[in-house]
């Protein structure tokens, strides 16, 4: 696997800026990126608001808020699954691939354009959740729920999980011929990560500092490997001609 490691920041920025401009002007993409995280908030907020102060003792030993890590596992992956195949479908890929841009630069630009807005949205949704709990939940329940280790875990794991989700999405997008198929596969590919975050949130896997460190190290390795593998999978001829 030969990957060129010289990456032009200007070319990466060109791809990133183009993507972000398209998000801003395509209401459907922006709406799609924002709506799912907000839907994720409804059920936990309703549940938290209904909890009496007597429930605070049990909550203190749970890590159910980590369930919100499913947001960075799903949203950026769906955006990334659309990124390459849509350009191909719209006929905009060929002019880009005839420029000196390398596949690594192209993919990093695409990945950052999925990562930055989706992480910002995930943080915004999480901040909104914390504010709602602090302001409207029973004070005893709020103080049992809002614990620094969980908040820090959310802050650190959000970009790591999002990046992993993006590389899976880009891998699907680089190999798909149809936007709908890419997005369906993107949803399926998110499920294992969602399953892991859910198992932690529901205490099937008991979270600990050591586990968090190991998981973070594994995600960093997977994210770097994801970039390299997707770069190797990125084949200009296949993307332009559809040949196998």
């Amino acid at each position: 696997m030969i990957i060129s490691m010289s990456v032009s920041a200007r070319r990466v920025r060109a791809i990133f800026r183009k993507e972000v401009r398209e998000y801003r002007r395509n209401g459907n993409i922006a709406f799609g990126m924002a709506i799912m995280p907000f839907l994720f908030l409804i059920q936990p907020l309703v549940q938290v608001f209904a909890l009496p102060s007597s429930a605070s003792g049990a909550i203190r030993h749970e890590d159910s808020l980590l369930y919100l890590l499913a947001i960075p596992a799903i949203v950026p992956g769906l955006v990334a699954a659309y990124a390459v195949v849509a350009e191909r479908d719209q006929g905009t890929l060929e002019p880009v691939l005839t420029t000196p841009v390398s596949r690594e630069e192209f993919l990093v630009g695409k990945a950052l354009a999925s990562l930055v807005p989706s992480v910002l949205i995930a943080y915004a949704v999480y901040a909104l959740f914390l504010a709602c709990v602090r302001l409207f939940a029973n004070p005893a329940v709020a103080s049992a729920l809002l614990r620094w280790p969980e908040i820090l875990a959310q802050v650190f794991f959000t970009p790591l999980i999002a990046a992993w989700s993006i590389w899976i999405g880009l891998a699907i997008s680089a190999r798909s011929k149809d936007i709908r198929v890419a997005q369906q596969l993107g949803v399926l590919a998110c499920l294992p990560t969602v399953a892991v975050t859910s198992l932690v949130a529901f205490n099937v896997i008991g979270p600990s500092f050591g586990l968090a460190l190991a998981a973070a190290a594994l995600l960093v390795i997977l994210d770097v490997a994801g970039w390299r593998v997707v770069s190797a999978m990125f084949n200009r001829e296949r993307l332009i001609t559809g040949s196998r």
Partner: protein, 342 residues
């Protein structure tokens, strides 16, 4: 049609109004802009093109003609480093066409695909800005201004590309291709689907680029376009059928004929024409109209005139029929069809 005279070597001074060539590192001295030897591409069992060889000099406007499916676009994609050839070899701006050189070659060329492929939600200037950064051109604002001036679109810089007509989108795509001041500019059917006025605008732009010394590789199946714009043309139908300046191709296929018109049909044309040594065969086109195959038209014409006068015929005209590039094209492509049916 553009002559070779007055062409500069390389794209220096370029179409965008006097820019220095951004194509540093490509060979322009002594090397051909494109040199192709026995190039071929197969997709599984299907042959896209095979055994194609030609050379194009710097500053030449070269037309690549052929029917749909002849392999024109695949050749552009191959020389543009998007597709790997399955046989043969080539150099592009003097750089060997191998996968390791892809990025280097792409720094010296630009490709305008058949479909403009613009980001429709972005403005014209934003589209060009994105590509100026991808080519890493110095002073991008100035380069974009010059590219827009070259295609007469300065006043539409802030228009979203989705609001432009098809002709204007083609012009934006051409401006985008001019941004890097390429040594070789590939234009893949640049007037496909355009109305005659929009096509004429694009022709004028290409002619201007040719005059300013840009090497242009133009694929088209519009023969009038090729005849008007190109120094040389090649006709491709999976394999290369012929190559040369349009005039030379016409001469090669059709020059050895004379068209003879007489006031009244000849009583015995076989008797008249068989007696002329320079005439190798003849046929009657219509009443009083004959086409003679001759070895040397300049020698045959006086002999034919004398023979007709001796036979008592009233001669209206003896001429070499005018043939267009379209006649050359149809002759060659029809030959291919007949060969495939045989």
């Amino acid at each position: 049609m553009n002559g070779q005279n007055g062409k500069q070597g390389g794209a220096t001074g370029g179409a965008t109004g006097g820019a220095t060539s951004g194509a540093t590192g490509g060979a322009t001295d002594g090397a051909a802009a494109l040199s192709v030897r026995g190039l071929g591409k197969r997709f599984g069992d299907r042959v896209a093109f095979e055994d194609v060889s030609f050379q194009i000099g710097f500053g030449e406007v070269f037309g690549f003609l052929g029917p749909n499916g002849a392999g024109k676009t695949t050749i552009v994609r191959t020389l543009g480093t998007l597709i790997k050839p399955t046989s043969g070899s080539a150099t592009v701006t003097g750089i060997p066409l191998i996968p390791e050189n892809g990025a280097q070659i792409r720094q010296h060329i630009s490709v305008m695909p058949e479909s403009p492929g613009l980001y429709l939600r972005l403005t014209v200037a934003e589209n060009l800005g994105c590509f100026a950064d991808l080519y890493e051109v110095p002073d991008p604002h100035d380069r974009i201004d010059r590219a827009l001036r070259a295609v007469h679109l300065t006043d539409r810089a802030d228009s979203a590309c989705g609001t432009l007509s098809k002709g204007l989108r083609q012009r934006v795509a051409l401006a985008r291709a001019l941004l890097p001041d390429p040594q070789v500019l590939f234009l893949d059917e640049p007037t496909a689907g355009l109305d005659p006025v929009a096509a004429r605008d694009v022709h004028d732009l290409i002619a201007g680029l040719g005059r300013s010394g840009v090497t242009i590789f133009l694929t088209t199946h519009r023969l009038d376009e090729a005849e008007r714009l190109c120094d040389r043309v090649a006709i491709l139908n999976t394999t290369l059928r012929t190559i040369g300046p349009p005039d030379e191709l016409r001469d090669r296929l059709f020059a050895r004929t004379l068209a003879v018109r007489t006031q009244a049909p000849l009583a015995d044309p076989e008797l008249v024409f068989r007696a002329i040594p320079a005439v190798t065969s003849w046929h009657q086109d219509s009443s009083g109209s004959y086409v003679l195959a001759v070895s040397r038209p300049a020698v045959a014409a006086p002999a034919v005139t004398r023979a007709l006068v001796s036979a008592g015929a009233d001669v209206l005209s003896i001429s070499q029929p005018h043939h267009s590039l379209e006649d050359v094209y149809l002759e060659l492509i029809d030959d291919d069809k007949e060969a495939s049916l045989a």
